[in-house]
Assembly symmetry: C2
Homo-oligomer: 310 residues x 2
DNA sequence: TTACTTCCACAACCAAGAGTTGTTTCTGGT
DNA sequence: ACCAGAAACAACTCTTGGTTGTGGAAGTAA
């Protein structure tokens, strides 16, 4: 029992002619004849009375007609329920303060009709996030997934390189530097509490420290960004790294300084993961937006080799 | 969008395994895989999450699952609505007194579960009744249709030969004869009021009268069977012909006599018309019943040559 | 009647689809 | 490292649904 057969029967019943139904459906009269014959054979009853001036439903056809319409309506509802774009796009971000979340927010403000939800998966690492995308728990996820860990069925697009900035208190030796190079950071203590082993951002900071000979300290409990900033503000030697687009609320209150890194500029490569072939219009809209209207990446950037090339 | 595809999806969702669904549906695992893939391609979304321990519905699949079940239920209702046997069989008879109506009545009494309606079409003749059958207005009709007038799509089965009997009043010369041959009726006036030209029974009586040299008088208005019997009872010369199984209520009250015709026995050949391939169980039941348990036809019968042979 | 038109079914053909078996890949458990 | 289970992929066959061309039945007009 095929929906097209039912649609054909309904069309013939409504037009009264096989040829008219064929025109409406864009097929030949003979195809209509075959479809009707197959449907009648399947049901075991004659649905249409053929005359030399057209066709009309037989008594059984009159009984069947409303049922056929009902089936078509229910089928339409079923397709509508899962049509790509019928529900908001679910985008996963590591946390709501980092630059991808800000970019998604900008996208939403400029496209209010594009429905989306920003969620934060409690996944261990990028590979697990990729699985969540694959399973449909979320539709897309901003991660820094190593290129050789991209599972089948997942597409990646490196849409945002977030330049790193040094965050220091007013007593720090670099507090008034207009910018600083990664190599100049060697010897300074960089403290990033709360790094969880096995995550892709742990791997990012490890690769970064190895590339420039930095000492990045991940020890100590993570009491949250406020405690971190309190500590930074009072310390003359501690510093931390943040993304230039990250949204921290109170740096001004502590007189903290953001010092851009240059020559080269280390960037955190935010890669968008999504199901290959996903046709959700908000997904394509978001990708287009970030590709064109996203923040401009400076020249002379550094990123781990293991991320997918742009 | 095929019902089988939906059924496959529902089965996989319920069993959790492609192979289990394949077993349940009686197809191969690969066929299930193809059906699901085609459905997902049609809808544009992924419905099932494949793992190494089976499959479960994705978020979109969970949304789609109840819709799929709904479609299947509505399809089942639609098929049920026109399933052969789901409505009473409509059988047309010339009128409710003649022997086919009586036989159908006996069939119904011995098979109370076989639902049927006995109707009387106001059609002109057998050819029009055949059209009514073809169009589904009725499912079957007892007629005496000439073999060369059977339209395409109509099957015929000669199920009942109704022997004719002479109906006379007590004063008629043949009133006390145990039986009479058609040839002996030559010279007697046989009066059958209400014969309508163009009907197949008019043709029957014409053929009969020509075959045996009878004078069958069709003149005069038809005041109904009661008036006919009144007239017969009072006449010493008038006679009429009735089927042996016909049900006339008051012959005894008028002291009318039924004289069987023999050597040969003229029979009215009641042929059942029905749509070729009609699978209505009551139709097959009725045909079986009449073929086996119907009234026995005497030897040495006469019938018009133009009816279909048994 | 005879032609002509309309409407649908049938026949032959062709490409796409749906089924099959055999094989591969992936994953999780031992 | 190996093995077992699950689903996908590949190659093939055969059915199906589409096409074009044609034919038959019924109404219509000359």
């Amino acid at each position: 029992m095929d929906a097209e057969a039912l649609r054909t029967f309904v069309t013939v019943a409504e037009t009264g002619h096989f040829q008219a139904a064929a025109d409406e459906l864009g097929i030949s009269q003979q195809a209509v004849s075959k479809r009707i014959a197959a449907l009648e054979r399947h049901l075991g009853v004659m649905l249409l009375v053929r005359t030399s001036r057209g066709s009309r439903p037989s008594p059984d056809g009159q009984v069947f007609l409303p049922h056929a319409k009902k089936v078509l309506a229910v089928v339409e509802q079923a397709e509508q329920a899962v049509r790509p774009g019928s529900r908001p796009l679910r985008v996963d971000v590591l946390n709501r303060r980092i630059s991808p979340a800000q970019a998604v927010h900008r996208f939403y403000r400029s496209h209010p009709d594009m429905e989306l939800d920003v969620v934060t998966l409690s996944t261990e690492n990028a590979a697990q996030a990729a699985h969540a995308v694959l399973e449909g728990t979320v539709d897309a996820s901003f991660r820094a997934l190593p290129a050789d860990q991209v599972p089948a069925g997942i597409s990646v697009e490196r849409l945002m390189d977030a330049p790193l900035e040094l965050l220091v208190g007013p007593g720090h030796p670099l507090a008034d530097a207009p910018h600083v190079s990664p190599a100049e950071l060697a010897g300074h203590r960089i403290w990033i509490p709360g790094i969880m082993p096995g995550t892709e951002w742990a791997a990012f900071y490890r690769t970064l420290s190895e590339a420039f000979g930095l000492s990045i300290d991940a020890l100590g409990p993570d009491f949250g960004p406020e405690a971190l900033m309190d500590t930074l503000a009072e310390s003359a030697s501690l510093a931390t790294l943040v993304g230039s687009g990250d949204r921290y609320l109170w740096p001004q209150a502590h007189d903290l300084r953001r010092i851009p890194l240059r020559a080269p500029t280390p960037v955190y490569p935010h890669v968008l993961l999504f199901r290959s072939g996903d046709q959700h219009p908000v997904l394509t809209g978001l990708r287009d937006y970030l590709r064109t209207a996203g923040p401009r990446t400076p020249h002379d950037v550094w990123a781990p080799e293991w991320v997918e090339a742009a």
